[in-house]
Amino acid sequence: MSGKFLQTEIMPPGVALLDYDNDGDLDVFLVQSIGGSRLFRNDLNQGSLHFTDVTAESRITASLTGGYGMGAAVADVDNDGCVDLYLTYYGRNQLWRNNCDGTFTDISKRAGVDDEGWSVSASFFDYDNDGWPDLYVGHYLKYDASAGMPCLGLSGRPDYCLPSAYPVEPGRLYHNNRNGTFTDVTARAGITEFGPTLGVAAADFNNDGWIDVYVANDGRENQLWTNQRDGTFRNTALVSGSAMPADGRAEASMGVDAGDADNDGDDDLFMTELTGQGSNLYVNDGKGAFEDRSLPSGVGPASLGLTGFGAAWLDADNDGRLDLLTVNGAVVASEPTLLRQRKQLLRNLGGSAGPRFEDVGARAGAIFAFLEIGRGAAFGDIDNDGDTDVVVANNSGPARLLINNVGNRKHWVGLRVAVGARVEILRTGQPALWRRSRTDGSYASASDPRVLAGLGDLTLAPSVRVHWPDGRVETFADVPIDRYTTLKRGGGR
């Protein structure tokens, strides 16, 4: 941090997990605000976990073009089998096409997604079910860093400003034209309300087979853009109970993720907030209406002392229930001791009256007590051992790789399915587990698209029912456990 209280410097960085070389393991792209972001190749297939900096040979010259790096999103935008990389900036965003040979090409301008302004989180999702990933780019604030003036506290101390000090910058929805280009369809899609967006998570919240998008805003009501199945969306956040917590105060939502916390077949929402506000859990009734369960679940009380950014649902202990992990760090400089914060792991205890969570960070490893300015977090099985690991991107500090040594003591099933597909893991004598392949959510970050579901002590191979993005449903019997299996459309019954 520069000491000049530039708003831009307090927000980044994000991080992306992507298998850019299709060798079966997750590589890491670390966003750097200045000085060049880095791509690290995972050399796991050489016998042990090791990363090699391949930025130069990848030809990704991100952050060397004048922008100030914020975050990343990933998708195979041209359906050529190689994952591409979208980078958000304070400046002009970039789309790097994966050439499938270890190199990337900047196609931002040609693709029409070289948004200018200030964006942090973006999400690829197929809103029209045509099999091609579309793109929502959340924008934050209209801010001129060159004219940046710090805000003053009550005693005249300079500090970073509240987002309300600046006008909101509208986000954008891009339709994938299936030819390497995108069209800005924001207005046509009816997306006309915007907040200062920091988090985006797309999922089919009302279970109608069409992907919706939840937009988490800083200090303003959040939006739930419900897909109207005709290329347009309607903001149903207020009527669905997901615009803000039940106390009626719009909070500073940062990271967000959608996952089935109560294993009832729909996606629940979790988002991180400022110190004193507490994270929020909105439980879905299956039709896209939500109940604020932050208090009774324990999620809110446990997180009141933290300013949360990167966050995700993950089954940290492979017991079949989705837990929560957040990386945290404040946004005020006035008292530096408050700036650095611990990471938090909230274990899902289940419960007949809705899931309850307990903070197990104290026994999850020393790294959870380590105080840092956490921002981005990407989640995935980096060492391919059957549990979810985490890469943490810190502001003004080194990245951290958190290797999970707990989850793989239990059984699991790993699935490679099309992004956007939902899977029901049918366990004998147990309720189904619902999971979803996605890369978005968290904060300014992109995660492992593979589905990894914990099975606990179950050793019987489950059946898996896949709900493909186009609506077709197929069942795959006896999917092997404790390994990854690729499920292809048309391969089931």
């Binding site: 506290g153 005693s155 005249g156 009527v239 106390d247 208090l295 809110g300 009380p301 008292e335």
Partner: protein, 380 residues
């Protein structure tokens, strides 16, 4: 804690201490304190206040004759100033020492409760408010904030007990009803929640913060019409408990920002005279701040002092000429134009209103006002 000879300097002091407060901690048991880095405090008056208070505390601390109650007051005063200056970490040990020295004074655990609340340490906050409550069992503010802390701990029963006591202490406590409604909503009792929120709004319809949770309650009750009606009226106007201790803290620092905030609070109750007084103090501390002058002009006009309002708005606009992008300029010109017209100075009014219409051609109010001003202009 057992009093020591060091903490009670004489039998009389010790006796007094025991009778009035109960005897506090020995000095050796006090938390180490230091003045935080205040060079970043840009308002000289605030910096001086902090420095002076710390110097006074230091002097008292070095003087073995200082009575524990006096020392507690000095620690507490320093804590309050730090809290007012938003040093919520630094304030903690000062309040801890004040409480240790004067355990019978409810102010110190009360302020500690707020320090922890701001920092999100809900357990420490609840504990501090509990201690404050034992010293003032029917204080509405303590009960509301304790209930709030219990709510944030997820202890809904305890929260409801505290909040019902707050309501018994002040039956018109919208702050208590708001939190009781939240507790009921969290318990799944939408009918009771709706009743609590409705009662709160009946007492003070300005409390628009209650309308969103009320809409949630009605939706749970299956009444979409009422739910939608509440959604349309939602807002963020909050009504806190009657809280004289925190109000004192809010007014401690002599800074423009503090006076401006007090002016905003006064304006919420249409007390424009007080708002203008606060803004005048703010302007005296920041005479080069054009937006403060503009606010002062507006407050003066609302208070009925149009002559003074015209002077301030004209001065604000002259100062703002150097930074023409200020978002309030056209509002100030419009108001000034109206005031000038009202004062029979139509020529000047026309000039101001023409500028607004030039900058914002779609401003119909400005166009109408301009037409009136032009009509009122004396024939040349």
């Amino acid at each position: 804690m057992i009093p020591s000879r060091r903490s009670c300097l004489s039998r009389l002091c010790c006796l007094l201490c025991l009778v009035v407060f109960g005897c506090g901690a020995p000095r050796a048991a006090l938390q180490p304190v230091s003045l935080p880095e205040i060079s970043t405090v840009t308002q000289p008056a605030a910096r001086e206040q902090l420095r002076d208070a710390y110097a006074t505390l230091d002097a008292r601390l070095k003087d073995p004759a200082t009575a524990p109650a006096e020392l507690a007051n000095r620690f507490g005063e320093m804590g309050r100033l730090l809290m007012a200056a938003e040093f919520v970490v630094a304030a903690e040990p000062f309040f801890q020492n004040a409480e240790a020295l004067s355990p019978g004074d409810r102010r110190w655990p009360y302020y500690l409760g707020h320090v922890y609340r701001v920092r999100g340490d809900v357990n420490a906050s609840a504990s501090a408010f509990e201690r404050a409550l034992t010293l003032a069992p029917s204080d509405e503010a303590t009960l509301v904030w304790l209930g709030d802390a219990y709510l944030n701990q997820g202890r809904l029963d305890a929260a409801q007990t505290a909040l019902n006591k707050a309501l018994a202490a002040n039956p018109r406590s919208v702050a208590a009803l708001y939190r009781l409604g939240r507790a009921a909503l969290a318990e799944g009792d939408a009918a009771r929640a709706a009743d609590d929120f409705e009662r709160g709004l009946a007492i003070d319809a300005r409390a628009t913060i209650l309308r969103y949770p009320l809409s949630l309650a009605y939706r749970q009750l299956g009444d979409a019409t009422k739910a939608d009606a509440q959604l349309r009226q939602r807002g963020d106007f909050d009504v806190g408990p009657v809280d004289p201790l925190m109000q004192q803290v809010g007014g401690l620092l002599d800074t423009a920002a503090v006076f401006e905030r007090q002016a905003i609070e006064a304006s919420k109750t249409n007390d424009w005279k007080s708002a203008a007084l606060y803004l005048r103090k703010a302007v005296s501390l920041e005479p080069a701040d054009a937006s403060l002058r503009q606010k002062l002009g507006t407050a003066l006009s609302m208070a009925g002092d149009n002559t003074a309002a015209i002077v301030e708005l004209q001065q604000a606009l002259r100062m703002a000429a150097a930074s023409p992008g200020s978002p309030w300029i056209n509002d100030a010109r419009f108001n000034l134009g109206q005031l000038l017209l009202g004062a029979g100075r139509a020529d000047e009014a026309v000039i101001e209103l023409q500028r607004v219409v030039h900058d914002v051609p779609g401003d119909q109010d400005a166009r109408a006002a301009l037409a009136r001003a032009q009509a009122a202009r004396r024939p040349r």
